[in-house]
């Protein structure tokens, strides 16, 4: 992990204080670790995607970041300040939209905002009122009469009006229908573009984040598999199509995932910043990877590693660590 720490310092020096930094963060439930050894960094102003299958530890991680949950080990820093669960200082720095966007169903929208005002010293009532007005949500309507998409919007509005510099959204669209998903993501990105806020958005559906996020964190089995700027991560990987007989050792870079078909193999490799030359090899073809291919490759690799060996993947040296620390 020395590499990681070196990199973190560099990035900190480049981009000022990171909006979020977790340092070997872990949480144990009884004897089971829900999340372990999780070191990530999100620069200020980024829109970061936290991707992983259900049960990967995403909610655990987010709840430790916002101060709802005390880490068993490790530390969370938000804008350079260490977080402690259940304290005013920590809660004030992070806005949170929980999964399924819980609201009090017998409250009106205006009453939800009054609650926000009563419980947040920096509450921006103008922003809240203007935002639901623009969305066409009546202030005097009861929450239970709103559609799922509107409830999600009210939740997001409350998190924005809290005026916290870091916003954490846990599976914000998983309970919405496809149209509402699209609308919500569009509005979320408009809000992100209008503000200097940092966003951390978790999802188990990669596709819905692809167009919006400039930072990617892949979480699986309670460990970080891949983390960094989305463009760099995409640039560092290639999808090679090679004759099936080609051995892994002949391939450039590190093999992340290999799929063999009758005559060809499709291999996702991590090549780093080194220019890749395939002209010399007959029958080789190199393509850029998509967001989804990249995420799926790392998730599948994590599953295979776990199946083959109970030792956690991210603790072992190898391509995973390289990818994280690139």
């Amino acid at each position: 992990m020395t590499d990681t720490e070196g990199l973190m310092t560099q990035q900190g020096a480049d981009g000022g204080v990171p909006a979020l930094r977790t340092d070997r963060l872990g949480r144990r439930y009884g004897k089971v670790w829900g999340l372990r050894d999780c070191t990530i960094e999100v620069p200020a102003g980024a829109v970061a995607a936290l991707v992983g299958p259900n049960g990967a530890g995403k909610t655990t991680m987010l709840q430790m970041i916002i101060g709802l949950l005390e880490p068993t080990e490790g530390q969370v820093k938000v804008f350079g300040q260490a977080s402690r669960a259940n304290t005013t200082q920590t809660l004030a720095r992070v806005g949170y939209v929980a999964q399924d966007h819980p609201l009090y169903r017998d409250f009106t929208v205006a009453e939800m905002f009054r609650l926000g005002q009563a419980m947040n010293p920096s509450w921006d009532q103008k922003l809240a009122a203007a935002r639901v007005d623009a969305l066409g949500i009546p202030l005097n309507r009861k929450v239970r009469r709103l559609s799922g998409g509107q409830q999600a919007q009210v939740s997001l509005t409350m998190a924005l009006a809290k005026k916290a510099p870091l916003l954490v959204l846990d599976e914000p669209v998983s309970s919405l229908d496809p149209v509402a998903r699209l609308e919500f993501m569009r509005d979320l990105m408009a809000a992100a573009a209008d503000s200097a806020l940092t966003f951390l958005i978790s999802s188990h559906v990669v596709a819905e984040l692809e167009r919006f996020c400039d930072w990617l964190i892949v979480l699986c089995h309670g460990h970080v598999q891949l983390a960094g700027p989305a463009d760099d991560l995409l640039g560092d990987h290639r999808l090679l199509t090679v004759p099936r007989a080609t051995a892994d050792s002949e391939l450039p870079g590190t093999v992340i995932q290999r799929t063999d078909s009758d005559r060809h193999s499709t291999v996702l490799v991590h090549v780093g910043a080194v220019p890749l030359r395939v002209q010399g090899h007959a029958g080789w073809q190199a393509d850029p990877v998509s967001f989804e291919q990249l995420v799926m490759a790392y998730l599948q690799r994590a599953s295979l590693t776990i199946d083959a060996d109970p030792a956690p993947a991210a603790q072992r040296p190898g391509p995973s660590a390289k990818a994280v620390t690139r």
Partner: protein, 301 residues
């Protein structure tokens, strides 16, 4: 937080006030006719002269008219009502937040959850104390003519006058708040809190209360044959003083009556002891809730 807590408990507050209003209407209707009968029969003068020994017929008539409705039917209802009030208010306080997932909203605002809970508990407990005091006042006023005949130390008056009724409500509330945290379900928490509350309530009434202080024993010899009775209708009680709580009466060899009793002067002492027991249970349950909520910063959705 005051507004938040008020808004969340508004419908319960309205229900509580409606209950109080219904009780007051019932009390006014019954108590007015009871007061009319009491003065019509001139019971006050009789009680002043002889503690009721000289006017048994008038007392019997009065008891026949009102004894059943005031002392018996009402008791059954009021035995469970403080517990029901307590669990209905207490169980959702944490149980509903955890059941519906709104705790993630409530506790991610800029108010730490222990502060949130402290504010909620302070406001709701205060409201319950006011409600309990109001119910107690209504019942005390309502029973006043009856109490002049039976005293208020007998079980069916003692339970609703003084301090204990409020303490019963608080205890059921405390149990239900804790149960809501542990079970994370509103209805389950109501049931889980009500059962133990009722058991404790009855154990205290029938097993502990007679022994809060060592009872006194009065021995009376009766050369012309003993005629000892006890019960609500015995006015005055075997001790001859209205207000004494007779625990048992036994006749030995047909010549002597032994009456064990708690003298009426101990009423407030007993009220403080019993209210103290229930308030201590409340404090233990709420203290455990605050401690658990502070320490166990872990709930998955």
């Amino acid at each position: 937080m005051i507004w938040v807590s008020w808004r969340q408990h508004r419908s319960q507050a309205i229900a509580g006030l409606s209950l109080l209003a219904a009780l007051a209407v019932f009390a006014i209707l019954v108590s007015t006719s009871m007061r009319t009968a009491f003065s019509h029969d001139d019971l006050a003068a009789c009680l002043a002269r002889s503690e009721g020994t000289r006017c048994p017929a008038a007392i019997t008539a009065f008891m026949n008219s009102f004894g059943s409705v005031v002392n018996i039917s009402f008791w059954g209802v009021l035995l469970v009502v403080p517990g029901l009030i307590g669990v209905i208010v207490g169980a959702p306080l944490l149980g509903r937040e955890l059941e519906l997932g709104t705790w993630r909203l409530a506790w991610s605002q800029t108010v730490p959850r222990t502060q949130w809970l402290a504010a909620q508990l302070a406001l709701v407990t205060g409201a319950l104390v006011l409600l309990g005091a109001a119910i107690t006042a209504v019942i005390t006023w309502y029973r006043e003519p009856m109490d002049r005949l039976t005293g208020h130390f007998i079980n069916r008056a003692y339970d609703f006058e003084g301090l204990v009724l409020t303490a019963y409500i608080l205890c059921a509330f405390g149990f239900a708040v804790l149960a809501g945290l542990l079970l994370r379900r509103t209805v389950a928490a109501m049931v889980a809190a009500f059962g133990p509350w009722l058991v404790i309530r009855l154990v205290v009434e029938f097993m502990l209360r007679p022994r809060f202080q060592v009872p006194l024993t009065l021995r009376q010899s009766c050369p012309q044959g003993c005629n000892a009775t006890m019960g609500l209708d015995t006015v005055p009680p075997q001790t001859g003083h209205i207000g004494d709580w007779v625990l048992s009466v036994s006749i030995s060899a047909g010549k002597q009556v032994a009456t064990t009793y708690q003298p009426g002067s101990r009423f407030w002492h007993f009220q403080f002891i019993e209210a103290g027991i229930f308030v201590a249970l409340t404090a233990a349950a709420l203290g455990a809730t605050i401690w658990l909520l502070h320490r166990r910063a872990a709930w998955t959705a």
